[in-house]
């Protein structure tokens, strides 16, 4: 999704520096690479519980009629 970094935020004014708690001088941030995913089909409204639900992969092969992994591996 994103790469996390610690940034040294560039605060130029010493007044600003004086008003900040120290931990602000080394903030952790991540750049979200796929912003468009936040507002489309990654999640949908759940019909059953009035909330949103996310698309998630299956933890197993539903069937093994195709050996898709073989294809995936050969690509690498």
């Amino acid at each position: 999704m994103a790469e996390g970094k610690y940034s040294t935020v560039e605060y130029s004014e010493s007044d600003t520096l004086a008003s900040l708690p120290l931990y602000y001088l080394r903030l952790y941030y991540m750049d979200i690479l796929f912003q468009e995913d936040k507002d489309n089909q990654l999640y949908s409204e759940c019909k059953f519980n009035r909330g949103i639900t996310y698309a998630t992969p299956c933890h197993k092969h539903i069937s093994t009629r195709f050996n898709l992994t073989k294809c995936l591996k050969s690509k690498e």
Partner: protein, 370 residues
């Protein structure tokens, strides 16, 4: 205080007849190790490392050091004076709903009513994952429409299998994946090549959704493959394997005629969806009878080091008269620790004939000999 060197709880050691493995559930890796290392790991889990070393003849120290280094380098072990504070993972696998995954075959030439009934019922059962196999060739526009329709249902992931057509290209198919993120795999079968195009898709398996071109067909006889690259080393899969049949558990299939089965490769029917609902069918006696056949109860598999990471198949087994015999399409012999081509194994010829797989096997032989 004496130090213990123990495996992290998410690293599961499994002993086979000739070889062992360690499955790293967090990092999705399975390491093959000699049985002597497995035995050492068990000793180390019960005794301080110095005590274990004391029982080993000095001539074996280099091997001992090498083994410990192997475990350390892969971050499989840590040191502690209090092993009692690190309990093993509880072996538990539960889901709130009876059906978690489904295979649906659709013959679009007969209209989409049957598919709609099936998907509506699966949705009501809160089935999470769907594989849907379209049997008839269709145009890209029709494919787009059907993909959008399927995406509207409350599934968590969908694999959509479609017969390949010349108009299906990366350019025409990738937008379907982009616009329907629940579709994790779009598989074009009977294609002219085996190829995969991947699109980054946050929150799906390996961060990707995939477009596959696959030369093989989608017939049910193709299913039940056993292969190293189908191994899965994850918490959910390993736990389900330990406690349930890792393929058939919470599965239902509905074919293009509406016949309800546990798995499409099995002959036993539990009714037709035009007369029986899926929720009625799954409660019929016998529907779940194979769900408790774990790998530990399958002959040969129970002695195999891969038993919790490998898929199972009860539809095609080596001895069709014995439901506890090993999957037909497995070419691994855990007593030798060797892989071979299952199709040419003389012991399997009877079963191949029984299931009518002779043609299929010939196709595989020609393709492997290329």
């Amino acid at each position: 205080m004496s130090k213990y060197c123990i495996l992290f709880a998410d690293c599961i050691p499994v002993r086979g007849s000739r070889k062992s493995v360690i499955s790293d559930l967090t990092r999705s890796k399975t390491y093959m190790i000699p049985n002597s290392l497995y035995d050492l790991i068990i000793q180390l889990s019960e005794n301080p490392i110095d005590k274990v070393k004391g029982t080993i003849p000095e001539s074996q120290y280099p091997v001992f050091e090498q083994y410990i280094k192997f475990l350390e380098d892969r971050e499989l072990v840590f040191y502690t004076s209090h092993p009692e504070r690190f309990p093993a993972l509880k072996e538990q696998y539960e889901e709130p709903f009876e059906i978690s995954n489904a295979i649906v075959r659709v013959d679009t030439s007969q209209g989409e009513a049957l598919m709609e009934t099936t998907l509506e019922q699966l949705e009501q059962l809160r089935c999470k994952h769907l594989q849907i196999i379209l049997e008839q060739a269709l145009s890209i526009v029709e494919l787009e429409a059907i993909a959008a329709k399927i995406t509207d249902y409350q599934f968590r992931s969908v694999e959509l299998d479609v017969p390949y057509h010349e108009s299906f290209t990366d350019e025409s198919c990738m937008p379907i994946l982009k616009n329907n993120r629940k579709i994790q795999n779009l598989v074009l079968y009977n294609a002219k090549e085996d190829r995969c195009v991947t699109q980054a898709n946050f929150r799906t398996l390996e961060g990707m959704s995939n477009l596959f071109y696959i030369t093989s067909g989608a017939q049910d006889l193709n299913c039940g493959q056993i292969h190293r690259n189908l191994f899965l080393s994850s918490m959910e899969f390993v736990m389900e394997s330990k406690l349930k049949n890792n393929c058939l558990n919470r599965k239902v299939s509905v074919d293009s005629q509406g016949v309800i089965r546990n798995c499409p490769s099995m002959s036993e029917s539990f009714g037709n969806i035009t007369e029986t609902s899926i929720s009625e069918a799954i409660e019929k006696p016998g529907f779940k009878k194979l769900w408790d056949i774990t790998k530990d109860k399958v002959n040969v598999c129970k002695d195999c080091e891969f038993r919790y990471v490998c898929t199972d198949c009860r539809a095609y087994v080596e001895d069709p008269a014995d439901i506890h015999s090993k999957p037909l399409k497995c070419g691994y012999d855990p007593y030798k620790g060797e892989w071979s081509d299952w199709t040419s194994n003389p012991l399997k010829q009877k079963a191949i004939e029984f299931y009518g797989m002779q043609e299929l096997v010939q196709v595989q032989e020609t393709s492997t000999s290329q």
